[in-house]
Symmetry: none
Subunit: 252 residues, 2 copies
DNA sequence: ATGGGTGTTGCGCATGATGCAACGAACAGA
DNA sequence: TCTGTTCGTTGCATCATGCGCAACACCCAT
């Protein structure tokens, strides 16, 4: 791995937190100012970094453009979106779509609840991987050795008393999810929020994405939420069919 | 500028065109395969590229996550403020900046008039949503069903005889604003105060904020205020450009 | 003037990025 | 099964390149 590139790339997440001046960047990278300057200049030439009048740097438009293309390459999102909206119209709760990539689970789409009480989640943000229903669905589809490898590597923060506590419990949960074809998170992330999810599969049967419906206790109980399971699974299946059925969007 | 970083960054736009294998990347970069491999590995470690099953590389979802985070931390106010001050210096009137959030329009910045007669408004305070120019601009950008939903939910207090009286009139007004790209409030909130506003847009063209200039009749007439429209729009556009990070000018 | 805070430049040194060549794995055809 | 091709990967010797330093330029306060 290349040291120079490594440093340059480390600048980007740092700037995502907010604008920073040369000194701050150099400090956080642990390099000399002149080094940071050279890196920033290179990033700047490629449009990944923008320099505002006060000379501070922030992320540039090019990055946003690339991100746009990156997400367009995830064509599940495009196909799924209208169905997520429709599901939200039917049940009123928050709907999420997530994918697994590089040992992380990321939300890539979200339709907000119609109820005033909303949950905090951010598309593009890594998911609480040990408890979220979508994470369980995505990991459950990995091969047994992969599942084990990841399960052992993870931390198991006890967000609540009902969070998955350790690798053993997690693997057991994944086995259940794998078997039954759907997943829940009953207060494992936030005490008062329940969640049910279903997998979206590609033509080869592999899970390519997962979706979930979340709602706080104060709106519906866990049991009531579970009555939505058939609807959620039906929606996921519809998306799966459309995703694997239609022509390949790949160009020659 | 750093050669290594330069090459690494050049890979990303290349991958945006579609997945590519090691050989293709090396060729297009004009470097040896081993070099390309090292660069790709570094990009991979940072999650900027993703390796699919067939070993080909494509852009990683991490890019999307990064951009998402950056957008959230982007502070319109910070960027807009100096421009608002300058506009105030040029015209002397009160300048407002507002955003739409959770079915409310909030003032988030204000530069006071240089004239002794000031208007009452407070940063952080909800705006008179049915009449203020900034509110019209922000709501006009919502989707048609959203606009209608909100219009129906609102109250239409008759602050003055020229206040917008009902949902129908409001929706009609929003259509006009949407079409012409600017908005006014001529005595709709307080009898003697007029106001013109323009939208500030993000990289995707969506309206992220709105700004306005307000002045009482006793200082300038409505017609005189309207002569400031080009200046206001120009300022808003400048802020939009800066906010979305569009900077070609390779500074000399 | 003076000092502390920036960002910028030129330079000599050695680190670290480079291309090569050899290797391994997967595949296809004979 | 063998043989040739085409991938990705690794170790290594070479030297280009990125490195930190120190000096400089600039802006603002005092």
């Amino acid at each position: 791995m290349s040291q120079t590139v490594d440093r340059a790339l480390s600048i980007l997440p740092l700037l995502a937190e907010g604008p920073a001046d040369l000194g701050q960047v150099a400090d956080r990278l642990g390099v000399h100012k002149s080094t940071a300057l050279r890196l920033l200049r290179t990033l700047h030439e490629h449009g990944f970094v923008y320099r505002q009048q006060d000379q501070r740097y922030r992320l540039g438009a090019r990055l946003f453009a690339l991100a746009q293309e990156a997400v367009e390459n995830l064509d599940v999102r495009e196909i799924a979106h209208p169905h997520l909206v429709e599901l939200n119209a039917q049940c009123g709760h928050t709907v999420h779509l997530a994918v697994y990539e590089e040992e992380e689970v990321l939300y890539i789409d979200k339709v907000e609840s119609r109820y005033p009480v909303r949950m905090y989640s951010r598309i593009g943000k890594p998911v609480a991987i040990t408890v979220a229903a979508v994470a369980k669905l995505l990991l459950a589809d990995l091969s047994e050795p992969e599942r084990r490898a990841i399960a052992e590597k993870l931390d198991y923060p006890m967000y609540t008393s009902r969070s998955v506590p350790n690798a053993g419990a997690f693997l057991k949960e994944l086995a259940v999810v794998r078997e039954q074809g759907w997943a829940t998170d009953l207060g494992g992330h936030e005490e008062s929020i329940n969640c049910i999810g279903a997998p979206i599969r590609g033509a080869d049967g592999r899970v390519v994405a997962a979706m979930s419906v979340s709602a706080p206790n104060v709106v519906v109980t866990a049991e009531e939420l579970l009555t939505l399971l058939p609807l959620v699974r039906r929606t996921a299946d519809t998306i799966s069919r459309e995703y694997s059925g239609t022509t390949q969007p790949k160009k020659a």
